[in-house]
Symmetry: C2
Subunit: 183 residues, 2 copies
């Protein structure tokens, strides 16, 4: 049996792929996230507010992936000092992304954020057992991407690569909940 072809194509490329195993270094950036954000706000005629200042500290204090809900959970509650409404949290997270401080992507339906400013480009391994995200960096991947894009007349603005599987630990502990290895 046979299906109609869609817009599929291969691309041509021959190159030597090289990567190194040095630990990935944080980038040196001249401005702190906060300074960078202030610059962003100024350039657009937006305002500095206590909420924005507080949120940028809160976000850059942690160094892991998070979603809006997790962030809100570790912020002061309504009534407490420095409380920020969730509406504002959502609005501000988007601004952080616009400002280039954070990156966001979709995983299992929710929006996941991670620090971008001050961190090198990287991609993810996702363990479908424990749902943990691991990071890796690969220059060849980026080259491959550019090659594919060029091949299709695309001007690249970015990419998102997630490798799904079972991480080392979960591979050992077969006893770990299996569920359905969701995509």
């Amino acid at each position: 049996m046979q299906f109609y072809p869609r817009f599929l194509s291969r691309f041509e490329l021959t190159e030597i792929v090289l990567t190194s195993s040095e630990p990935l270094q944080p980038l040196n950036v001249s401005l702190s996230p906060r300074e960078r954000f202030e610059e962003y706000l100024q350039s657009r005629g937006l305002r500095q507010t206590s909420q924005r200042r507080f949120l940028i500290e809160a976000v850059f204090q942690e160094h892991d992936h998070f979603d809006a809900d997790e962030l809100i959970d570790r912020l002061p509650r309504r009534g407490e000092k420095n409380y920020v409404s969730s509406a504002t949290v959502y609005r501000t997270l988007r601004e952080f992304v616009d400002a280039g401080l954070l990156k966001s992507f979709q995983l299992d339906g929710r929006t996941v954020y991670e620090l971008d400013y001050g961190y090198p480009q990287h991609d993810h391994l996702y363990c479908t057992r424990c749902r943990q995200l691991f990071e890796f960096q690969s220059d060849p991947l980026v080259k491959l991407r550019d090659q594919v894009a060029a091949d299709h007349g695309f001007r690249v603005t970015g990419h998102r690569m997630i490798i799904q599987g079972v991480c080392r630990d979960c591979g050992k502990n077969r006893r770990t909940k299996r569920k359905q290895d969701l995509v």
Copy 2:
């Protein structure tokens, strides 16, 4: 200024990357999607119903990406012949994915489905202007993936790669709505 390192690492790999530009061929599969699904149902003691039979036809009649909403739109309405409730559509789409007939992934917040059974593995280029998805195939990408995974002790079950950018046509027509080149 300097940030704490996270779980970042590079990996070691040296290889020759080769790809070809032959148009990608549909796979030859011995069973039709419908037969394949019937097999799946039987193996799990599930039932064949008119809704399931109808949906599999509807889904495999088209050969493009779609989301639940688009699918429901082109199905018979309530009251008409062969009407299927949206709840059942959602439930059945998930079964199709379980059965390996469809693949699903998240894009701009919604769940996008595409035919899997009978089609070769591939990845996507996404135009952030016209929001169209294009497909490409790259063996080196898969090798790279396996290498990275092995490097991290991962047992791979799959991956998702989306290259974002502006497609050829939208690159020409600067007049096309620009908005914010959303991720």
